[in-house]
Amino acid sequence: MSIKLNVLDHVMVPDHQVMSADEVQALLERYSITFEQLPKIYHDDAAVKQIGGKVGDVIRVIRQSQTAGIAEAYRLVIRRPKK
């Protein structure tokens, strides 16, 4: 394959962004949750690889929602467990 496929271009893939440490702190405080309580995403997930997320980063996902129009979701990058 000559050009690497950019999965973020696909209609089913919402926008992913790596969040800064400050943003993560504000997020955790806003929902008064701990780091581990966030939903997870694996480090080798196609979208995470595309934006260069590392284990321990928090990814902001900007979804097109049918109820709210635009909705933000957050996922913590973890290592894929070995089978």
Partner: protein, 388 residues
């Protein structure tokens, strides 16, 4: 009229983006006073609060009922020709179960392949892409005869088919050889091409047994020399002004690599493939889209929020988990809660062996032991302040 100040107030309000946009759109050209605007905002605010889920509401149970009840009205066994292009697609209850069970492969995998702009306006150009996708066994390229006297399998290649499918004799020889060896695990043969007479000759190494010859003939007949192995059939159809390919069989990764395929819109109904190629968020979208389409096709309307909850739960941990004993229900923390679901004795036994402790934090386990559950009013506790 909508003044800039009013516009700013709507834009900076706490409403979700969709509500804000709808509010702006519906107020856009209407006449109203300042007081009326305040009234409208208040009414929208009240309506918005009404639609919100209250704290400690059992959303999971509501979602389960809201999907389950209409599910009873669905056709139990439907193997339907889904209108589009006589391709067989599992619908109805079996499909819904398939989605929730997070099967590795659906019983009827199918893809909808969109083409890039150079290929989607003309049927012949679309066909050219489809040749690269549809799995074509060698027998479609010419006559195959078994020569028992000389212990050979002869393929008389049809030149017209080669020209139509834009593939050369050398390419056929090369891929056929490679695929028989790698994919079909049959190695004891030699290949020889005779370009002048348009014949390919396959000879088994073991010249003693006829069994080898017939085995080789079978491999030669069925080896896929063009297209993608998993995709058995491709149908070209015109839809809203462009040509689209529908397939039986699915392989998202390989199809994305075919030139002429639109990698932005092309999709498959195989959710685990989407999770692998496009990531977990795309899989979440796919679960929602597939579930809604399956329900919608049967004329059943289920609020998206129930489906969203199910999809969110399934994709929570970074991979697609099934609803059930091997997924969400099987990974609950509480022993009693797991035991209440399925295979009760096994769970209790394993928990006893592992010396597990149940913290009684969830709903099911508290119902079992007869304590108030932490839902609705059950979680409200009275705190008495001492007088002193």
């Amino acid at each position: 009229m909508l003044t800039d100040a009013m516009r700013d107030r709507i834009e900076s309000s706490d409403f979700p983006p969709l509500t804000r946009q709808q509010l702006l759109d519906s107020l856009g050209d209407k006449e109203f006073s300042e007081e009326q605007f305040e009234e409208i905002l208040e009414a929208v605010q009240n309506e918005f609060e009404e639609t919100r889920i209250e704290p400690l509401e059992a959303v999971g149970v509501i979602a389960a009922q809201s999907i389950g009840e209409p599910g009873t009205q669905m056709t139990m066994r439907t193997f339907h020709y889904a209108g589009v292009a006589e391709i067989n697609v599992t619908l109805g209850l079996p499909r819904l179960i398939e989605i929730m069970d997070a099967r590795k492969e659906p019983s009827t995998p199918t893809m909808t392949i969109y083409l890039s702009s150079e290929f989607n306006e003309d049927r012949d150009r679309a066909r050219m892409v489809s040749w690269q996708i549809e799995a074509a066994p060698l027998h479609e390229f010419g006559d195959i005869t078994t020569d028992m006297e000389n212990m050979q399998v002869l393929v008389a290649v049809n030149q017209a088919v080669l020209a139509k499918r834009k593939i050369s004799m050398e390419m056929i020889v090369e891929t056929a050889q490679k695929k028989i060896r790698d994919r079909r695990h049959y190695r004891d043969f030699e290949v020889e091409a005779d370009p002048e007479n348009h014949v390919i000759i396959f000879t088994p190494k073991d010249q003693e047994k006829y069994q080898n010859l017939f085995q080789l003939a079978e491999h030669v007949r069925n080896v896929i020399v063009q297209g993608i192995d998993d995709i058995e059939r491709v149908v070209v159809r015109k839809e809203s002004g462009e040509y689209i390919l529908y397939t039986e069989g699915s392989n998202l990764k390989d199809v994305f690599e075919v030139p002429g395929v639109d990698t932005v819109r092309t999709r498959t109904n195989n959710i685990s493939e989407i999770a692998q190629v496009l990531g977990i968020e795309a899989a979440r979208n796919a679960i929602m889209a597939e579930a809604l389409a399956t329900l919608g096709e049967q004329g059943i309307k289920v609020d998206v929020r129930h489906i969203m909850l199910v999809a969110d739960m399934m994709c929570m941990d970074g991979e697609v988990k099934q609803i059930g004993r091997h997924g969400i229900a099987g990974e609950k923390e509480s022993v009693l809660s797991r035991a209440a679901f399925e295979v009760t004795v096994n769970h209790l036994l394993d928990a006893a062996v592992a010396n597990e402790i149940d913290e009684l934090n969830g709903v099911t386990e508290n119902v079992i032991v007869g304590q108030p559950i932490q839902l609705g009013t059950g979680d409200v506790k009275l705190v008495a302040k001492s007088r002193t």
